[in-house]
Symmetry: D2
Subunit: 216 residues, 4 copies
């Protein structure tokens, strides 16, 4: 669990296309986490051996919540973890706290996404399994956070460690190749979160090989 591939909602990551992309990841079952759309969790988790995470779940219990996404349901569909508070789907603080707790009770791995050092420390105080710091201005920019803004990563690590020695720390935004991954790992993170560089690549397999090479 070092490279977290967020499939988002691209045409390349919808339905059968998503299955095809996921199959490429099967080559790196230990390193790569696949994060498909809610509709595709079931089939992808039947198809590949990688850990599959959900992109989102709602802070709801069994009951009347038409159209919302139940944590229990992503688990039954095969998810092993869940992104919480992604930059494209920000959540209320009280819901983040409740979701982290709920994931823990369901034995699902929680990854709370954050946008700056302050929010990272605040999120780390909730004791999720992972936080993932992604400066919004670099998301989708092609400029890797690990090279453009290493300070936000080292500041996050330093300040988070003062209050939480256990939470794993990912970084994301603009990560595109093995070199970006290597730079991130060198700064001290436990892994990276990325999307378009892989999902929208002409040749995703080559991109993935390169990304994974950055882990060595």
């Amino acid at each position: 669990m070092k490279i977290f591939l967020n499939f988002k909602n691209y045409e390349t990551t919808t339905g059968q296309n998503a299955i095809n992309l996921a199959k490429i990841c099967d080559k790196y079952q230990k390193e790569v986490v696949v994060i498909p759309q809610t509709t595709d969790i079931y089939l992808i988790s039947k198809t590949v051996k990688n850990k599959v995470f959900a992109q989102h779940a709602d802070n709801i219990k069994f009951g009347s919540h038409t159209g919302f996404i139940l944590p229990e349901s992503i688990k039954e569909a095969g998810a092993r973890g869940c992104l919480i508070n992604h930059s494209e789907h920000r959540l209320k603080l009280a819901d983040i706290e409740a979701l982290v707790e709920k994931m823990r009770n369901l034995n699902l791995i929680s990854v709370v996404c954050t946008n700056n050092v302050g929010v990272s420390v605040s999120a780390a105080a909730l004791n999720p399994d992972f936080i993932a710091i992604e400066p919004p201005e670099l998301i989708g920019s092609g400029k890797a956070v690990s090279k453009e803004n290493p300070k936000i990563i080292t500041d996050t690590i330093n300040k988070v460690r003062k209050i939480n020695g256990d939470v794993k720390i990912l970084c994301g935004a603009g990560i595109s190749n093995g070199e970006d991954v290597r730079a991130a790992i060198k700064l001290g993170v436990d892994g990276v979160l990325l999307a378009s560089a892989f999902t929208n690549a002409k040749n995703p397999e080559i991109v993935l090989d390169d990304l994974v090479s950055g882990l060595d």
Copy 2:
């Protein structure tokens, strides 16, 4: 397409339980529409011949919308239609309008849920395939709208028909048995929308047989 079964997010409608409930519906393939959780659309639509609808989709296009539900994705997963603006998941007017249009372009059947006569007329002006009037105070009450408040149904039909002769009209809230269905059909609606009476029944098959008997 006369009886629309909203599975909501009950324990009885999650994962394998949802599959089991859906199989009961297979007996009435023409009459019954199954509306499972997003995670379960794929497997249920592979399992039963009933039309499967989604409980919700978001007003988004292919792109970066982590955790949201793409209309194209519910279609690829097997959905033939979608609830829009359910009382437990109210939407902005501009999003309802865009979703109705998007469902039309994707050849998916749109069902816009409404809470009173005024909202029903406003929704009907958007030309969805269906509107579904459900007075909130009767939802989950066990008191059928078709018997407790027939006036809201006939008023809706009369006022909607003044501006839209095509939209089909469902009613819901408290519908529990064949008699409630019969009363609704008699008032002039094209079908009913219900949830807990079926999903949480001790014997859902008996309940379904009874509900369908009300169509005669």
Copy 3:
């Protein structure tokens, strides 16, 4: 009530600056409606004789709704009407319907903002006092809807009139000068809604004189 000036949240429209801008409008008490921030409604309505509208109110009743804006409170502060569903503050359909009704009961004038022809018809079905069609792509563009896209205005008028003969129709987006106003009035609208051309003008009084000249 022909020219509706939305003050938005500019530095030029905050606190004392807002009072100063409002005073300029006092010259055209009949023609110009002033729409300041919530904090400034009280003092502006004490200062000028123009009708003062609120930019927004929430669909709430007297009670526990900390931080939300009560329709009764904007009235007590001096507002005579309220924008509903502005493009920068879109609302749920059920809330729009309830707010239109509530404004009517409070004797406040309702202006429901819309983004296209379909939404305009749907909003008109709710019988507000006004709808205000503003194509989002032209808002703040400096290109007047009345000249760039006259068809959206005439289509709105034609389709709205089929179901509602009473609602007054405003248009907005990019309206900057008297010529834009004149073009709008010629297309058949009852008035215009604008913001930055006035609020951020070097000389707002000259701009206002020009805008009003377009009404002749």
Copy 4:
């Protein structure tokens, strides 16, 4: 600043009624903070010498945000601080963080409301001036948190102090009289946040005298 009176949106706290209630507080200018509706901030801060706080502000900058509440505007209207994330108006984590920062820059006092120990620690990590712990199940219950659930208060104090020695800590929910206040202060909080016991009292002055007596 020991007793924070949230006026909410009651009929008793709207317009002239709000002014009358605020005047009662003038007797305890140092002890009591008045938190009126947005519409009433201006006039109340002109009328009484107590510190006036806003119930809410939005995470926006000067610009186009029709209908939202600008931090700069509540300051110009006379507010000296602001509630953030009240239980009736929960906010996204990223917005809470940004608002705390913005209040600091504007020299406004920030009070972040929280619902349990975990959220309190997370909020305290953002370094607001105050946090205010209010267990939702006791809000408006008439059962004082300081007597019904003293453990949530002492746990909050203990865990917050491990990461933040500076933030002041309020408690709220069900606080109704001087005895409740005294119990709270004894547990170690810096003050209390309350609403209906004062705002909806038959004789608010007597209630306030009693509340303040609990500070000795």
